[in-house]
């Protein structure tokens, strides 16, 4: 697709600008000053696509909802880091196959009072994606800026691509910053540097998180194209989110009860039953994300489906190398990326076909 090349081309330059802007971008005032300075003294002609991306990023970063979400996410992450650090002593047991992966424990352990870092991300990530995307197109429409923007000499897909890219950039920077912050604080508190393998596992974990949040972002963009009112699309997004996190589990449990094999069932039947339930659960993007991150952050996980005794007999509990863990979660990753791309393509198509009227 054309837009992917555009996006890839633009992404590199974008990251550097954002990191520069983000530091001061927390208040609208400072960010406005920045824009004025940036727009006023620049002699180079910037490609219109990048002009839109710059504007969108500064809009996102200086918006109140982003600041509020940022505070929530940062607080919860520090909370989980704190519990992880206080419990890390008791978490490492002798003969633990993951004993060497002390750093990854920072992201996964909890004492039950506060969920761990990755659980928080799986819970708050959708909220972040939705809040950055739910009014992408329809707010332009209600403000009356869409038809004015579209009458500028730009291709129509610039708008939706630029908005997606801007939100994705914000998300990437935010998640990388948080992930590395946890790592850095962990280094200071424990005095241990992470092993290269641990470092790469964390990087992949963050990448998977970005894809996961991007899925919700794209779903929100899709609704913002479909619904005229930002409030409607926000509600629709939250409804989908609630359905997928709460009600879908209940439905799957009901189905599981209904088709549960009897106690006399053969191993084969039980195996089939487990497979069906797993397949049903894996329709959920949240489930895919949890599967993928668990495998990446806990190297001793070696299968995501049921294993028979014959398969386990004789194995020595030990961590998998990174490559093998990645292979294990490849289907999950593919599924997540496919869902993300599908949402984007649908919103892209319907936006391209839409007639742009004022208000």
């Amino acid at each position: 697709m054309i837009f992917t090349t555009v996006i890839l081309k633009e992404e590199k330059a974008m990251i550097s600008t954002v990191t520069g802007k983000k530091k001061t971008g927390f208040s609208g005032f400072i960010s406005n000053l920045l824009i004025r300075k940036k727009l006023g003294t620049d002699d180079e002609v910037v490609h219109p696509f990048r002009v839109i991306v710059y504007k969108e990023i500064s809009d996102q970063v200086s918006s109140w909802r982003f600041i509020i979400l940022l505070i929530i996410i940062a607080l919860t992450c520090f909370g989980s880091l704190y519990t992880a650090l206080t419990n890390i002593g008791s978490a490492v047991k002798p003969n633990d196959p993951e004993g060497t992966f002390l750093f990854l424990k920072l992201y996964t352990i909890s004492d039950g009072t506060l969920p761990s870092f990755f659980v928080f991300i799986s819970f708050l990530g959708p909220l972040l994606g939705i809040s950055l995307g739910f009014d992408t197109v329809n707010s332009e429409q209600t403000r009356g800026t869409l038809s004015r923007l579209m009458s500028q000499p730009i291709h129509r897909d610039y708008l939706i691509n630029a908005k997606f890219l801007a939100a994705l950039t914000v998300i990437s920077v935010l998640l990388f910053a948080l992930g590395f912050l946890v790592m850095g604080l962990g280094m200071i508190m424990t005095g241990l540097p992470p092993a290269p393998e641990e470092f790469w596992r964390v990087v992949f974990f963050i990448l998977v998180s970005i894809i996961y949040v991007a899925f919700w972002l794209n779903l929100a963009i899709l609704f913002s194209v479909a619904f005229r009112q930002p409030a409607t699309s926000a509600l629709a997004c939250i409804a989908v989110w609630l359905f997928l996190t709460v009600f879908y589990n209940i439905i799957v449990n009901l189905i599981a009860k209904a088709i549960a094999p009897s106690e006399m069932a053969t191993t084969h039947q039980v195996f089939r039953y487990q497979e069906i339930i797993l397949t049903l659960m894996r329709i959920l993007p949240g489930e895919l994300y949890t599967d993928a991150t668990t495998t990446l952050l806990m190297p001793s996980v070696r299968s995501l489906g049921p294993l028979t005794m014959e398969q386990i007999v004789g194995t020595i509990p030990g961590p998998l190398p990174l490559g093998q863990s990645l292979l294990l979660v490849w289907p999950q990753l593919t599924g997540l990326i496919a869902a993300t791309v599908l949402c984007f393509v649908i919103s892209y198509m319907s936006f391209m076909r839409r007639e742009i009227r004022s208000r």
Partner: protein, 324 residues
């Protein structure tokens, strides 16, 4: 007008079974100020959208500056400035920042865009408010900012969709004068789309009347009224005293017709809300007044109507309905 800057050939747009624009053929010359007039829902905005490539025509072609809008919309949009109906700006930016953003979308560097925006804000009389956020702007200020926004790309054509909506009368006049002077100064072709006749009448070189997706008349106002009212060029409006007991109270449509029947050239006598509308082929105002007074009628009002755009417009609307 050697060159046609806008050419629409057999342009048609259908939404399902509804035809919004029906085989439109229209040419607009360079430097002309053209008014596209029509009631709401006549298909004016749809036509503009097709000119900018924002929606595809069902059939037919639009060429703007010789470029096909459907296949090369970006090239067309580089040359055409469009001020949409109910234009909106980014609330959280100032007027200047909004303009600079547009300028940069048109491949201006930051510095060039800022200089140009400042200059244009001065031109449209907005330099005092340039550093205010647009959320605080009034309707008229937004329209002025919109005009500056359209001009920042140095357009060859500007299209204004209902530009006078929501501005007070003195503001409208000022705004229209501003547009006209700018257009004359820089040789910009202007296309007005409006249902406000008077405001457009004053400034347009030519108008096109657009009803139900069809262009039913085109030309300057003189030609239009000439064509249309060829059958009955004069309308004489007569008002009589309606004091009870007075003889004029007894004048009915029949009486009046009877009274005036032998005057040559009278084609129609009608009683509208107590006033008689008399259509005549020649100017028989004086004869009519004498007849009425001789018959003892208390004549208190006599008016020979001139045809303005209003009459042309309404006449065509009636015609438009009738032809269907």
């Amino acid at each position: 007008m050697a060159e046609n800057i806008i050419e629409r050939t057999d342009l048609t747009k259908q939404y399902g079974s509804f035809t919004a624009v029906d085989h439109l053929n229209l040419k607009i010359g360079r430097g002309e100020i053209f008014g596209l007039l029509g009631p709401n829902g006549a298909g004016k905005t749809t036509t503009i959208l097709m000119m900018l490539g924002l929606t595809d025509p069902t059939s037919g072609t639009v060429r703007v500056c010789g470029i096909d809008s459907t296949t090369h919309p970006v090239e067309v949009k580089r040359r055409v400035g469009y001020l949409p109906e109910n234009v909106g700006f980014y609330d959280d930016l100032t007027g200047l920042q909004n303009l600079v953003f547009t300028g940069r979308l048109n491949n201006l560097s930051g510095r060039a865009a800022t200089e140009k925006a400042t200059e244009l804000l001065e031109k449209v009389g907005m330099s005092e408010n340039s550093n205010k956020k647009t959320i605080k702007y009034s309707r008229g200020m937004l329209q002025r900012l919109g005009l500056a926004d359209v001009l920042i790309k140095d357009p060859e054509i500007i299209i204004l969709d209902e530009p006078t909506l929501g501005i007070d009368p003195s503001g409208v006049r000022e705004f229209m004068d501003l547009i006209v002077s700018l257009s004359r100064e820089q040789g910009i072709t202007v296309l007005f789309c409006s249902h406000h006749l008077h405001q457009v009448q004053q400034v347009c070189d030519r108008v096109g009347i657009f009803v139900k997706g069809r262009l039913i008349a085109e030309g300057n106002i003189g030609t239009l009224s000439g064509n249309l009212f060829a059958g009955s060029p004069y309308i004489i409006e007569v008002g009589l005293d309606s004091i009870p007991g007075n003889i004029s109270g007894q004048f009915s449509e029949e009486n009046m017709r009877e009274l005036l029947k032998d005057i040559e050239g009278i084609t129609k006598v009608e009683n509208k809300n107590g006033r008689f509308m008399i259509e005549s082929l020649r100017n028989s105002t004086s004869v009519i007044s004498r007849r009425i007074v001789e018959a003892g009628g208390g004549l208190n009002f006599l008016n020979k109507k001139e045809y303005g755009l209003d009459d042309i417009y309404y006449r065509y609307f009636e015609g438009g309905e009738g032809h269907d």
